[in-house]
């Protein structure tokens, strides 16, 4: 018996000891099925990380529907920050749909508004992707895993180009950005300060890209030398560095796309907004390359996913009715019947005919006499006009709530019916996924900067030439909306009498050429900020509150109730740094002085 006890005790004790002794290795459990930094320090790994940096351009990180950060305002399209805030469009849909975007539209955001954080984090996410790519690249170069210097320089150039873009987005919207380089560790992130203007860092990244990127790239979607140059010129424009901008733009205008096509305006205006014309497109300088039907819902221009006409039981493109063009936007396309020029001062004195207040079953004859710019119907969907290949826009049936969002539909980001199932699809609960790229810079933009820079510091003759290039393309009758009953009349400027006249025309041309493309508000801010450095100072507060926008929208007939009581004040030229940011960084990233903070807005 004794022996038996001893054997029991020995057996059990050894079991216990086994448990103890192997615990160290037992507790070593690297996560299954993931990559480490080291495993990616090679060409494929670094190229893949660069791809993911591009992927951050959409600013969308799809989280669950329930937490409200379905980020559709964080990317490159700037449909809220540039277009809605600048008066191109209303938020649209119903009074409280996109509830956090309404304060942006009304210029009354508070730092706690979650939409702000979406833009902020969507942008810094891109910065973080870029920095990780650079760190891994440098590691791979140092270890010899990447030995080709040209390849390394190309990757570094593309990455820095993207990093500049992401920083620029923050700078544009918030006015006080913090620059984060690749040498900042995770632990240091919350101690970086936004204590100085980061233009020099942005310029340096773009300059590096301009100096190191090839003109022809291995893929259409990659940034090339000329894209970097164009972006650098844009950054100069934002600082009113007209001379530097003009010099650079003069080089860039003779550049090529990444696939080697010489820059030129596409013959047909709307070819900028349809997937079937994207291959070989000569006008796309840099774009977010959207893709649909790839098995995801995040890549199909997720930012614009809800910005579609409403009412899909009518087989329309069908979704949620956000982003409805404003009356002021529509009126801007009115032209002089003789000259075909825009009505720079009087465009908003009366409204172009609309079907507001009518049901689709009510009779309505679209206006076929008032002269309008043909770009109107490629920018705005309105009743009685063919809407891409979806048929005649029926008015009310495609509008979610006319009383709130007005009678117009967006169109530039809407797919063709023929593209459904090829480069567009209705996904998930029925929202739209499309392959239509978000144009960050297109050649028309470059031409209009050229015109503007020439007008400020160069030749008015050159300026008028650039503007007319853009207008000539728009006047191509082959590019008019087929079957439209509208009276399209467009003509060129003969000359500009003064710098101020030139700038007035050029700025208006930007509004109509680039309408609904997310640029307007930033243009207004830079013209406002240019103050002493421009021949045509503009006060953004007077402009937006006046007859160009709010006073018009809230005029006698009071159509836009959702704007009632809204006033733009100067501090809203930049959004407040989100509450989360100032709190988490303990004010290392602080608000600007307009908001009671310590930083000077740029």
């Amino acid at each position: 018996m004794k022996l038996k006890y001893i054997s029991y005790i020995t057996l059990t004790t050894s079991l216990l000891l086994t448990g103890v002794s192997c615990s160290d290795s037992f507790l070593d459990t690297p996560p299954p099925g993931t990559y480490s930094d080291a495993s990616l320090q090679n060409l494929k790994g670094v190229e893949g990380m660069l791809i993911s940096t591009y992927a951050a351009l959409d600013g969308s990180y799809f989280e669950s529907w329930d937490n409200n950060y379905f980020n559709q305002v964080g990317g490159a399209s700037n449909w809220v920050w540039g277009s809605i805030k600048g008066g191109d469009a209303y938020t649209g849909t119903e009074p409280s749909d996109g509830i956090d975007q309404k304060p942006v539209e009304r210029h009354e955001t508070q730092p706690s508004n979650g939409t702000l954080l979406n833009k902020w984090r969507g942008s810094y996410d891109g910065v973080a992707h870029a920095n990780q790519t650079l760190r891994t690249l440098y590691g791979a170069v140092a270890s010899g895993a990447i030995s080709d210097a040209a390849t390394a320089a190309r990757i570094e150039g593309e990455t820095k180009f993207l990093r500049a873009h992401f920083h620029f987005e923050v700078q544009k919207v918030f006015g006080v950005a913090a620059y984060v380089g690749e040498d900042v560790t995770n632990e240091q992130l919350n101690s970086i300060q936004n204590d100085h203007a980061i233009w020099p860092e942005i310029e340096a990244d773009l300059q590096f890209a301009y100096d190191n990127l090839p003109a022809t790239q291995i893929a259409a979607g990659r940034a090339n030398k000329w894209a970097a140059g164009a972006y650098l010129a844009k950054v100069y424009m934002f600082q009113a560095k007209w001379t530097e901008a003009l010099a650079l733009l003069n080089a860039v205008k003779n550049g090529t796309t990444s696939t080697g096509t010489s820059y030129a305006l596409e013959p047909l205006y709307n070819d900028n907004f349809r997937t079937s014309a994207e291959t070989g497109n000569s006008e796309s300088v840099f774009a977010y390359e959207a893709s649909a039907l790839d098995g995801t819902i995040a890549n199909g221009d997720y930012e614009n996913t809800l910005n579609q006409p409403h009412g899909s039981s009518t087989k329309g493109a069908g979704c949620c009715g956000f982003f409805q063009p404003s009356y002021s936007m529509v009126n801007s396309f009115k032209t002089d019947g003789t000259t075909g020029l825009p009505l720079l001062d009087t465009y908003n004195n009366s409204d172009l005919l609309s079907d507001e207040g009518k049901l689709s079953t009510d009779a309505y004859t679209p206006d076929s006499s008032t002269p309008v710019d043909p770009r109107l119907d490629w920018t705005v969907g309105r009743r009685g006009i063919p809407y891409l290949d979806w048929g005649i826009h029926p008015g009310n049936n495609w509008i979610r709530q006319v009383a709130n969002g007005g009678p117009f539909s967006p169109i530039k980001n809407v797919p063709y019916a023929a593209d459904k199932g090829i480069t567009a699809a209705s996904v998930d609960w029925g929202f739209q996924s499309t392959g239509i790229n978000v144009k960050i810079i297109r050649y028309a933009d470059i031409l209009l900067w050229l015109a503007e820079a020439e007008a400020e510091v160069g030749s008015l003759t050159n300026a008028v030439g650039y503007v007319n290039q853009v207008r000539t393309r728009a006047a191509n009758t082959a590019g008019f909306v087929p079957g439209s009953p509208a009276n399209y009349i467009i003509g060129n400027y003969v000359s500009f009498a003064s710098k101020a006249d030139a700038l007035k025309a050029i700025r208006f041309e930007r509004k109509i050429e680039l309408g609904m493309e997310g640029h307007r508000f930033f243009d207004l801010v830079r013209w406002h900020n240019a103050g002493s450095k421009t021949a045509l100072p503009l006060n953004i507060v007077t402009y937006l509150n006046g007859s160009d926008y709010l006073a018009k929208e809230l005029g006698a007939n009071h159509k836009r109730n959702h704007l009632l009581g809204a006033t733009m004040t100067l501090k809203y030229r930049f959004e407040p740094v989100p509450e989360y940011v100032t709190t988490q960084t303990r004010k290392n990233v602080d608000l600007n002085t307009d908001w009671g903070g310590t930083r000077n807005p740029e």
Partner: protein, 1079 residues
């Protein structure tokens, strides 16, 4: 476990006594008899001892015993666990029959604590014993839902949907990331209460403080719930059938009031008299046109028409081709969508158990079938489970056994219909406008189409009946196995060595078919099939050594053990097809019959985490009066970096049974009084992912891949950081102090147990707030801040006779605690906020306040005059709109005027259980009183704030501000300048949504009748009882939503986002008839 030990003790005692019996065989005569229980059933295994001697025996399978006595003065002592010990003087009798009564003094009750078993009298930690009989009065598939109000210190909420788990918290919230208690089922730990079929539960103990729970170390911070399943009893064999069936429904009173169609028309006119509305006909003028009889939805025609109009000729009707429908729908006078989506749903439960055993083997086998139809149509839950528990004892030194449960559960409609939030059936019932009916007129063959809002200006709600119907084939299927194999050895007396290997595994399958729609404002354009499957496999291997010895006045117990746990959440595979199928018939829709485009497969990566622990405990008792114990556990977790792998968690406790002191002997009404106190630390690694210390990279089509080649429909693969890591993350520790007493008064007539507790959690584990200048990758858990839960809980039981045969039994449990976030990260400005779906920043957790506090503006009446508008700047302010309170007095309303406006945490929770027994009849009822919390009624965002077109509350129409009525609830209903509902009001959280969440609820009543045993035995039944039962039979509350029982329910899966009514699933009312049979 409890029963294993019971049985073990019994067997040891019997064996010992038999030995003695043999050695003392020399005496006079034999007495025999039968022992029965309170119901007259015979009791096997009862110990019979001749008082003052060591002569003893045990009853056999039929409850019979035989024992030798020396003389007529001999006294027989009958004892059985759970029954009062009885003494009988034999006298001249040769047959002594006795009926034992259940022991009301539970001091001798054996309680399973950590890895061992103790007498209740010796326990110095805070331990609640839950009566499993009472527990089973709650008819639900999930154990967690049964715990509500049953034990002091335990709070539980929700779980009203079929098969759904309730949220259980013990003594407040010890962690930011969900302090789920640890369930230890037959010795195997899990955090999923659903791992056990409640009908198999024999006993439940809740370990609430460090003294009792710290033996479970790192996983015990949320408390430990020890579950023991039913074991066979040596020497008996019985077959039990327990079953019930009944009906559940959502009472009408739960439904919110909504405007009917004619009221809604009036509302439309007031909200915008100039608007044209397609429902009102071709011209759509809502002022002059009357409500139509029908409305037509087609691509070119959307309008209402009077009956007889050419446009509503039924022959025009078609929904054949979804792109060119012509739908004719009758205008409803006011559809009550709540009535349409709910039903009287059946519920049934059948449990068949066979158990028995001998000295060498015991067994218990059970089969359970539970089926609950959802109260929402086309939803439900069913489960089959089988349990086999056996134990073998080939000799007196060794015992080997197993406890296993296999279960198969399926949820119809994916979640059994239990979805919350905007898309749920409940939310869609108030999101739909009243004039839309469930069905349209249908085609000539009588095939009805769904009524919908495709006419326009009718909102973006979806017909919830249609949705539930389309989802009726969606299912979640789970197969789970849970249990352990164990061996016990007693190499020498007083020493038990035990090894146990437990397995917790499951495979999961889900199928979700999204079907094209035609009737909605926003239609689903493509049919999609999503399928996914995954598995998990966790094992626990524990080895323990128990030693117990009494030397004179000293009793010492020692426990030492090691444990290894591996948690493996396996890879999952998801396949999605977003395209059309040739046949949209659910039977033909498969991944094999898609049209080839848009198919996408992806895998979810698993997670691995291991835990290795050593632990020990010493219990010391002096003279049965002075009790001491000390516990130490050291845990190592693979989730932490090398410097912080291990955490050590000590605890000790002291107890003093004052009633054993001589000076207390004169106080006769106190039968037992014990003071006890303890201190200890508990660890927590709950939210720490297995990859926390590793920076990983991955590829995700949606996030890292990109169409760099401008194909417009395909992606180049990208790599991106998936998660950031932390090497400095360490164990979260909660330090708990518990002081309490247990008293038994008047020989158990009154029993009181009281505990005061303070739990300070430090190094709180929190998902690191993403650095604002960093990327959007998963963040590691890090240690931040400190939190306190302080309070007391007690339970009082009073039993006795009211008169004659009328016995009563009342138990009251009471829990009070106050939770405060002491510090978050050293920065008092730091906060965590939470969003309610479409309304942001409704929660804030910040130092100095309870976690999950509601945050927002305070209402301060209305802007009654223009002068008031001019005096206080608020964006969009106008006469007739709400005014928010200017807290900082700067004459403008902005972020600085927001405040903490409520807390979802109740001030106390009380459970009252009342039992009455009269002869063969028994009655019991259980009431829950939850007092003093606020709820955030987010449903008002939809029904009252007019944010989207949808159903509207009568408050909007009848209780809005008007120039005449300034004493209103809501802003002015109007259009343009007279519309008081400004963007600012709608966009900001405020205390209009805050409501008192207190309630008193009749949770259960049960009336039972036990057939007299002589009658029963004639038909071959040992025992038969029938009962009727009601559940949630009344609720008294001021809360305006359907069900206030959501106080601690989470939103966004976050402990910091509690108490929001986001179209909660109401706990239904139930009525049942049940039958218990024992053969």
């Amino acid at each position: 476990m409890k029963n294993l030990y019971k049985i073990k003790l019994r067997i040891i005692m019997v064996a010992g006594l038999l030995t003695l019996f043999t050695s003392l065989w020399a005496q006079e005569r034999i007495v025999s008899g039968t022992v029965t229980d309170e119901n007259g059933s015979t009791m096997p295994g009862v110990n019979v001892l001749v008082k003052g001697t060591s002569t003893g025996a045990a009853t056999d399978v039929d409850g019979n015993f035989k024992i030798n006595i020396t003389d007529d003065q001999s006294t027989l002592v009958f004892s059985f666990v759970g029954y009062a010990t009885s003494e009988i003087i034999v006298g001249s009798r040769s047959v002594v029959n006795i009926q034992l009564t259940p022991d009301v003094q539970t001091l001798t009750e054996l309680v399973v604590t950590g890895y061992s078993v103790e007498k209740k009298a010796d326990i110095i930690g805070a331990v609640s014993v839950v009566n499993s009989k009472e527990l089973l009065q709650t008819p639900t598939a999930n154990l967690s839902a049964m715990l509500q109000g049953r034990a002091a210190g335990v709070i539980s909420s929700g779980g009203g949907a079929p098969g759904e788990a309730a949220k259980v918290r013990i003594r407040g919230f010890s962690s930011f990331n969900g302090s789920d208690p640890l369930y230890v089922i037959d010795g195997v730990p899990t955090t999923d209460a659903n791992r056990v079929n409640p009908n198999d539960v024999e006993s439940i103990q809740v370990l609430k403080d460090a003294t009792s729970a710290s033996i479970y170390g790192s996983r015990a911070a949320g408390g430990v719930i020890i579950v023991t399943t039913k074991q066979g009893k040596a020497g008996s064999m019985s077959i039990n059938y327990n079953g019930y069936g009944g009906m559940t429904y959502v009472p009408k009173s739960y439904q919110p009031d909504m405007l009917n169609t004619s009221e809604y028309a009036q509302y439309l006119k007031l909200s915008d008299p100039t608007a044209n509305h397609p429902l009102f006909g071709i011209q759509g003028d809502i002022n002059t046109n009357s409500l139509p009889d029908f409305y037509v939805t087609s691509p070119s025609l959307k309008a209402g028409f009077a009956a007889g109009a050419a446009e509503v000729d039924p022959s025009l009707y078609t929904i054949e081709d979804y792109s060119s429908i012509y739908q004719i729908t009758p205008v409803s006078a006011g559809t009550n969508w709540f009535d349409e989506v709910t039903r009287n749903a059946g519920i049934q439960n059948h449990q068949l158990q066979a158990s028995g055993g001998s000295e060498k083997v015991n067994y218990s086998v059970s089969f359970n079938y539970f089926k609950q139809q959802g109260v929402y149509v086309n939803s439900g839950y069913k489960r089959y489970s089988v349990r086999v528990n056996t134990a073998f004892k080939p000799n007196k030194h060794i015992r080997i056994g197993e406890n296993f449960q296999f279960s198969n559960e399926s949820f119809q409609n994916a979640t059994g219909g239990g979805a919350r939030g905007e898309a749920s059936a409940w939310a869609q019932s108030f999101r739909m406008v009243p004039y839309i009916p469930v069905y349209d007129i249908g085609d000539a063959n009588g095939n009805l189409g769904w009524g919908g809002n495709g006419i326009g200006s009718s909102g973006n709600g979806t017909n919830p009946v249609a949705q539930l119907y389309r989802d009726k084939n969606d299912e979640n299927l789970n197969y789970k196995m849970f249990g352990n194999v164990f061996a016990e050895v007693n190499p020498i007396k007083d020493l038990t060595l035990r090894t146990s290997f437990g397995v917790d595994m499951g495979t999961y399958f889900s199928k979700d078919l999204v079907i094209k729609t035609y009737e909605r404002a926003e239609n689903t354009g493509t049919t999609a099939l999503n399928q996914s499957t995954s598995y998990n496999l966790n094992w626990t291997w524990s080895n323990t050594l128990n030693y117990s010895k009494t030397f004179g006045d000293h009793t010492v117990k020692l426990l030492a053990g090691v444990e290894a746990i591996k948690q493996n959440i396996g890879d999952g595979i998801t396949t999605q097809n977003v395209n059309t199928f040739d046949f949209e018939d659910p039977d033909f829709v498969s991944l094999n019959t898609d049209q080839g485009i848009g198919q996408n497969s992806s895998s979810t990566k698993g997670q691995l985490r291991t835990l290795a622990s050593t632990f020990g405990r010493l219990d010391y008792t002096f003279k049965d009066k002075y009790l001491f114990n000390a516990t130490l556990r050291r845990d190592g977790s693979s989730a932490f970096g090398k410097q912080h792998t291990y955490g050590t968690f000590p605890a000790f406790g002291l107890g003093w049974r004052i009633s054993q002191e001589s000076f207390m002997q004169s106080i006769s009404f106190i039968s037992d009084l014990k003071l006890r106190g303890g201190w200890g630390q508990l660890g927590n690694q709950g939210p720490v992912n297995g990859r926390n210390q590793y920076t990983t990279f991955g590829s995700n089509a949606g996030l890292s891949n990109y169409d760099i080649n401008r194909t417009q429909n395909s992606l180049a693969i990208g790599y991106s950081a998936f998660n950031a890591s932390s090497q400095t993350t360490k164990w979260e520790t909660s330090e708990s102090t518990n002081i309490g007493f247990d008293a038994s008064i008047l020989e158990g007539k009154v029993e009181v147990s009281f505990n005061y507790f303070n739990i300070d959690t430090k190094d709180l584990l929190v998902g690191q707030p993403p650095p604002p200048l960093g990327g959007l990758l998963s963040q590691p858990a890090i240690n931040l801040g400190k939190m306190r839960n302080r309070g007391f809980d007690f339970n009082i039981t009073n039993r006795g006779k009211i008169i004659g045969d009328l016995d009563y039994d009342v138990t009251l449990t009471f829990t009070h605690f106050k939770n405060t976030a002491i510090d978050l990260d050293g920065n008092p400005a730091t906060f965590f906020s939470g969003n309610a779906s479409r309304l942001n920043n409704v929660w804030r957790t910040q130092a100095g306040h309870p976690i999950s506090s509601f945050y927002g503006y305070r209402l301060d009446g209305f802007y009654n005059t223009q002068a008031e508008v001019d005096a206080l700047a608020m964006d969009g302010a106008k006469v007739g709109s709400w005014k928010f309170r200017d807290l900082n007095g700067d004459n403008k309303i902005d972020d600085n005027d927001k405040a903490f406006i409520g807390s979802p945490q109740p001030k106390f929770i009380m459970g009252i259980n009342l039992g009455l027994k009269y002869k063969a009849f028994d009655f019991s009822t259980f009431l829950m009183w939850n007092y003093g919390n606020d709820l955030f009624n987010y449903t008002k965002y939809w029904t009252d704030m007019r944010v989207f077109v949808g159903g509207v509350s009568p408050r909007v129409l009848y209780d809005g501000w008007t120039p005449e009525n300034h004493n209103a609830t809501l802003p002015q209903l109007g259009s343009g300048d007279s519309d008081g509902y400004t963007t600012f009001i709608r966009a900001n959280s405020n205390d209009y949504y805050i409501e008192d969440g207190s309630y008193l609820r009749g949770k259960t009543f049960q009336i039972g009748y036990t057939i007299p045993s002589d009658l029963a035995s004639k038909i071959g039944i040992t025992r038969a009882r029938i009962y009727v039962q009601g559940q949630n039979y009344f609720t008294i509350t001021k809360y305006s939503g359907p069900d206030p029982d959501i106080s601690i329910q989470n939103t966004n899966n976050s402990e910091l986002n509690m108490g929001l009514d986001n179209a909660a699933f109401p706990n239904p009312r139930q009525f049942l008839v049940g039958l218990n049979l024992t053969f």
